[in-house]
Subunit: 184 residues, 2 copies
Amino acid sequence: MIADPVGRSARAGEIVAAARLLLEREGPEALTMRRLGEELGIRAPSLYKHLASKKAVEVALIEEAFREIGAALHAALQGRDNPVDATRTLLATYRRFSLARPNLYRLATAGRLPRGDLTPGLEEWVGEPFHLVTGEPHLAQALWSFAHGMVILEIDGRYPENSELDQTWETGAAAFAGLVGARR
Amino acid sequence: MIADPVGRSARAGEIVAAARLLLEREGPEALTMRRLGEELGIRAPSLYKHLASKKAVEVALIEEAFREIGAALHAALQGRDNPVDATRTLLATYRRFSLARPNLYRLATAGRLPRGDLTPGLEEWVGEPFHLVTGEPHLAQALWSFAHGMVILEIDGRYPENSELDQTWETGAAAFAGLVGARR
DNA sequence: CAGGGTGGCTAACAGCGTTAGCCATAAGTC
DNA sequence: GACTTATGGCTAACGCTGTTAGCCACCCTG
């Protein structure tokens, strides 16, 4: 498990919570310091008494996103030892949780990541279920890449409107399940 | 094939070319209107005599990116009728061409796309090779999602440093090649 | 009751995309 | 050849962004 205490004040926690609401409700371009202050009945410069920068707010949100998705993935694998079933469950959970917080997911995964700012080991912990399911690092990485590609393209509205994404997920799952099953 | 004449003036073409250089050389945050003007020995407002907005510049760049990658993918499939070989070739070409222009690729594929602003049919044409190779729309979409996921995560530096991405690509290719081969 | 930290505030700066309005030069027309 | 118009520069400025400086009121502690 990944330790939680992030060492920020209670007020900072409120700010991050408000930021999350704002981000999910109105999208990334609404997440400005002035707008965020407004949401809390405060002026933008006052935010800097609690958080060092806008980037710090974003990093906190990214942490939240990773913790939640990681927890969901780990939980989804509980008691599933058939690797093919586990693969399908893992993909379904990944899709559902990502699409439930699209703006947060995009923030967490798009663009270059400030690696040093994140809790060490957090990313690896999120990726762990893929390794548990596949039992092999390259297959795990390929499976995660597929899942991320599917999610981010769906979030960004990149598929044609008449796409049957359920079946695309199913096809991808089948492709990987073939290898996952073959390994055991 | 996709028609080329975009109906912009010669000067506009120079601006877009300069924008591309600037983007690839110094990254997305360097692509500002003032910086772009500077590059051409001109003030930022003058750019608006040739292009309607910064977004128009970006759309022009996205068009370029799609045309080039699409042409590369189509060319790569010439004379390849073994679907498994074709799949590997397609993935290799996709990877190579995307990583050769990482900032352009990210601009073209990240975030919500101004669909209406792009040449109609362009996106479909870029995706065509995936359909040619797989012979099935869902498999094509899954394969493209895998390729995009791999590329964008590599561009954004999201893989652990010690990752053996060649092998990850190979593993993904094998997963899909299994289905591609089985269909014929 | 004094001192210091906490958490607000206003004013301001630099940089962003963009618009308005001015002007010199080039091109086309009578 | 003169007149007109279109082209493509320019400066100034607006409203937005993240952020800093400096001020001040409150509250907790000694």
